[in-house]
């Protein structure tokens, strides 16, 4: 008998075939044929409002951002073809790191090729075989993968449970070094972490703290530095991880820190060293965007209005939401099961609305979610249209009465 290493995927292949046999559009194979703006694209020939992009601040079509990218293409070419530690650090990479240091008011910034690699690289490099990582059970895949790559001892605690975190910290063997990993906003349900309490508990136990602020940068906290800033604990956080692929509007990841020995990571962090650096146009757009996000107070206020309006409207229609009140720019609509969720997703797309369908194992508690992420560029009219589409699709699929 020939070995087939793919046999482990049989159950998933079967589930997928079953779902698609009902005539639904494949939710994981959608093509954006044209993109008009941060909030509108053409999908299957139809004009579609985008409500699942994480493009929170709508920077992807900002004229200054685009101009800086074009200029960098002309000045530096299409790519660096090299690692940051060899031929892949251009003036633009340093400028991008300077922009991050200014944005966060921190001493050090290190840019990675993706947000996934930022978590993978920092976590695996600072916490090794004899170290302990205490993390929220609902942590992002890149955090778990970082723990596994470094071969650290992984201690999970119940989602957002301060007492559970504290108990586990007390049980870490004497002398062991500990990293506590938290997220500002958890992207599945759009809820935020009680960072004030958690960071205090972690520091009292002598642990270092890393907070992933991927989904909060640009609009949570007075300067848009994230939940740690909003909760007044950013000075006690040792490492902040972030991404350029959400509010910043391009691709890439980063870590900022005040640790005095931080710069040594550039030589010992494998996901930083053994990959090509970001193209010059990408770091140019990122630096321009980060600079503009520092002055985005009005856009931030409008984004919060959108989030509150959508949350209240969906609740009034009778949908079950991931949070009692809007806590971020993510509003998660909880579906009873995958089949209903896929049907609702398909019905919304036909109405002209794109949301994210999220399913286990990415979701907590095996939930199927329709995840909506708002953009500062969504107009109040668009939010009204979105609510109308949810109402029509919800009734057509029997998700609401």
């Amino acid at each position: 008998m020939m070995t087939d290493l793919f046999s482990k995927f049989d159950a998933l292949i079967e589930q997928r075939e079953h779902l698609l046999s009902t005539g639904l559009t494949d939710p994981f194979n959608l093509v954006m044929e044209r993109v008009e703006s941060p909030t509108v694209a053409i999908c299957n020939g139809q004009r579609t409002i985008l409500l699942g992009t994480y493009n929170y601040m709508g920077m992807t079509f900002d004229p200054d951002v685009i101009a800086s990218g074009k200029q960098a293409l002309d000045d530096y070419g299409s790519g660096t073809t090299g690692s940051r530690v060899l031929n892949g650090t251009y003036a633009g990479h340093k400028a991008c790191e300077e922009a991050l240091k200014t944005f966060y008011a921190m001493d050090h910034a290190m840019v990675f090729s993706t947000g996934y690699q930022a978590n993978l690289g920092i976590i695996s490099t600072i916490a090794g075989k004899d170290d302990y990582i205490v993390l929220d059970i609902d942590s992002h895949a890149s955090i778990y993968d970082g723990c596994a790559l470094g071969n650290a001892n992984i201690v999970p605690f119940r989602h957002n449970d301060v007492e559970a975190l504290e108990k586990r910290l007390k049980r870490i063997p004497d002398g062991a070094k500990t990293l506590v990993v938290l997220e500002g906003v958890y992207s599945m349900l759009g809820d935020i972490a009680p960072l004030k309490e958690m960071v205090a508990v972690a520091k009292a136990a002598g642990a270092m703290v890393l907070v992933d602020e991927a989904h909060s940068m640009g609009f949570i906290g007075e300067h848009g530095r994230g939940v740690a800033e909003a909760h007044g604990v950013i000075d006690d956080v040792d490492f902040i991880i972030g991404t350029f692929s959400k509010s910043v509007g391009t691709v890439g990841g980063f870590c900022v820190s005040n640790h005095p020995k931080f710069e040594i990571l550039r030589l010992v962090c494998r996901p930083y060293v053994f990959t090509a650096s970001l193209p010059p146009s990408v770091v140019a757009t990122a630096a321009t965007s980060i600079g503009k996000l520092m002055h985005g107070a009005d856009k931030r206020a409008h984004l919060w209005d959108n989030s509150q309006k959508l949350h209240a409207g969906l609740k009034a229609l009778g949908f079950t939401l991931g949070t009692e009140t809007p806590q971020s720019a993510i509003i998660a609509v909880i579906m009873p099961d995958l089949e209903k969720g896929a049907a609702m997703w398909d019905a919304l797309l036909r109405e002209g609305l794109y949301v994210n369908l999220a399913r286990p194992p990415a979701t907590p508690a095996n939930m199927t979610l329709l995840r909506c992420s708002l953009c500062a560029e969504h107009s109040a009219d668009q939010v009204d249209q979105i609510l109308g589409m949810f109402e029509a699709a919800g009734r057509a699929t029997g998700c609401i009465d």
Partner: protein, 80 residues
């Protein structure tokens, strides 16, 4: 009772509230296949064991623990 027998009895008593299928529990009873626990049940159960014995069972250890006997061994181990 020996220490191990006592730990064994306490672990089995803690399993019962999670034993929705009413499976007869022995050392060889497997959590995933026999008790049919999903990842959420495992999380709750591990937290219960950790609190009862005031120990940590890391995810690395959990990956090696397939049945009840192995769990009792893991609980006994930190006592040295």
């Amino acid at each position: 009772m020996t220490d191990r027998a006592e730990t064994d009895a306490r672990v089995k008593a803690l399993i019962e509230p999670f034993n929705k299928k009413g499976v007869a529990v022995g050392d060889a009873t497997r959590f995933a296949q026999d008790l049919e626990w999903d990842s959420l049940t495992v999380l709750d159960f591990v937290a219960t064991i950790e609190d009862e014995f005031d120990i940590l069972i890391t995810m690395n250890q959990q990956a090696e623990i397939e049945n009840v006997g192995q769990l009792v061994d893991a609980v006994e181990k930190p006592k040295g």
